[in-house]
Symmetry: C2
Subunit: 359 residues, 2 copies
């Protein structure tokens, strides 16, 4: 929260960091003043308010969420703190990566913000068209993307891994200068040992957030999550799910922004009670080994199936360490491992093979 900035006559002047609101200074200079001015200007005019530059508002939101989540997880850990890397991308933009390693509770936890822009190659535009986006054929397009992503891997096999990410993506038609933007994101819980109470609490929290915005959201996004976090080659979901959505642009942008923002700030409520009641449970060497095998599955999903990871690894100038920060510290693969019939490990697999409704 404080940083030494200047020396004056041999004395280190410690300046109070202007951004106690952030883990590091935002990518956009004077971000807060720019937003405040735009909001002041739009005050009382719903139409104008809906059109305050979403790029700025999203950057502000994810930077604030990053701080809140890092601080909450440091409290939960009680020992380690996040290492903060602010990085720039020569193709445009940059990010702030916060990673905690080898804490008392967390083996590895990362919260990454990125605010990048550049030119989307024609192949990537084609891929978006194939998902139903109304975009021009056979052309590259300027794009802008802001997002926050987070993965926490606890030591204790009784404590689940958790992930979320929320992003805003915008492209500009090079011929008409028309802009299109959409929101995507989601969160999911990945236990090695299933506590129904945890799955229910996690889902109930996000259902409440969804219901506040649209009662159709939760059932739709819950199923989308089960369909997305699917390790197809194993016939297993990676965990007990949560919510997932993408390409959202069916209502005013400020409404979608409010939804993404509420989701992001619901994380503490969703995960903190779970990590607190599981972090110190006793466990055996065998249970630790099962966790490591499940971490192997996590690696398989992220490297083979996850669209964000694949997009990232194929993007020139991407910061690989920020993309792969989602991988666990350690993982394990045993040939033909099968849990014992009737074991709790087998019960978990049954749920991963055939997802349940939790609320």
């Amino acid at each position: 929260p404080a940083k030494s900035t200047e020396t004056s006559g041999g004395k280190v002047v410690v300046a109070q960091e202007p951004a106690a609101r952030f883990m590091a200074p935002p990518l956009t200079e004077d971000l807060e003043h720019k937003i405040a001015a735009a909001l002041r200007d739009a005050a009382g005019d719903p139409d104008k308010l809906a059109n305050v530059d979403m790029k700025l508002r999203m950057e502000d939101m994810v930077m604030r969420a990053q701080l809140a989540i890092c601080r909450a997880m440091e409290d939960a850990d009680g020992q380690a703190t996040f290492k903060v890397d602010r990085w720039l991308r020569k193709e445009g933009g940059g990010g702030v990566s916060c990673v905690l390693t080898d804490g008392a509770v967390f083996e590895k936890a990362g919260v990454n913000v990125s605010v990048v822009h550049g030119i989307l190659p024609a192949a990537a535009v084609r891929e978006m068209r194939s998902r139903g986006k109304d975009l021009p054929a056979d052309t590259s397009m300027p794009f802008f993307a802001t997002g926050i992503s987070c993965v926490m891997h606890p030591h204790n096999p009784m404590a689940p891994t958790v992930h979320f990410n929320y992003r805003y993506f915008e492209v500009t038609d090079p011929r008409t200068q028309q802009r299109q933007g959409w929101f995507g994101g989601g969160c999911d819980l990945t236990p090695s040992y299933l506590f129904e109470e945890d799955a229910k609490h996690f889902h109930a929290t996000y259902k409440q957030v969804c219901d506040k915005h649209d009662p159709a959201f939760y059932p739709h996004f819950k199923k989308w999550c089960d369909d997305y976090f699917n390790i197809t080659h194993r016939g297993e979901r990676r965990g007990v799910g949560g919510i997932f959505f993408d390409d959202l642009d069916d209502r005013p942008r400020d409404k979608l922004f409010a939804f993404a923002s509420d989701c992001a700030f619901a994380f503490e409520e969703a995960y903190l009670p779970i990590i607190m009641r599981r972090r110190n449970l006793p466990f055996t060497e065998e249970q630790k080994r099962w966790q490591q095998l499940r971490r192997g599955r996590y690696v398989e999903f992220n490297l083979v199936h996850d669209r964000g990871t694949k997009f990232g690894l194929a993007t020139p100038g991407a910061r690989i360490e920020s993309i792969l920060m989602s991988l666990p510290l350690t993982a394990r693969w045993e040939y033909c491992h099968e849990p014992a019939p009737g074991s709790v490990e087998e019960e978990l697999l049954a749920v991963l093979r055939s997802p349940k409704n939790w609320v």
Copy 2:
């Protein structure tokens, strides 16, 4: 080598396995008799000899190589033996997977033979056309594939991981019944600590095999190997290379078969001296951790880039455990890990970033 096949009046009759030449019975019934008959029939006629069914000869070759390699590696390990799984694929064919886990020398070692056939979807045919194959457009095709693949991960960080695979692929044009076949394969060495002597020996062994068949092979296939085993998102090769080739069909099939066969049987000569001199070297906890980080890179290559793994994971009815048997028992990912300047770990990275000529 011996197997209990029948019970007769409560007594287990142990029959001497007919296939002491193989780890398990071949997929093709009476394989050896069929080949012997065909070779007898073709004796003295080079043209006929070149056309003895390659599917049978390849199956026989990879089954014999599997036995030889498993026995040699069991000797090198001195403790563990290979677990043998013979499996069938409901879409056609099957395989024999041999896996050794937690030996004295090897953490995990697998030698897999597969002999499969079925219908190649139009999308896969298109992918082969895009690689230059003269195949009909927009149609599925019957295919046949026989191959052997092998990965050995030793415990000792001074002992390198090794991989090879050799395969014969054949498609039949559904309209003309014309068949086209080609060979592919290669081998590569992945040390965590670089011993130049090992890299030189490995390359020299395969150069000798290559030179026997065509002096143009080694330089071509050495470069192809460096280009193929490239973790592009890291800017690192996965190891010190070896040879790699694919789509080979530019000379009589029996010549290419002889080359693939010589490569397969050169493995012992290439790897055994290396594992014998490294398996018991002393090492520290830190060196073990570096090995685990390099194993993480191995996982990244196999899951993100390897064409065979991707093809396998996307193939309906594929035996996932045989495909992913190439993954190490354990792996590790540390955020932003960098070896100390001037360290031997950094020297290895320099070679992975800029491949050398070893012979």
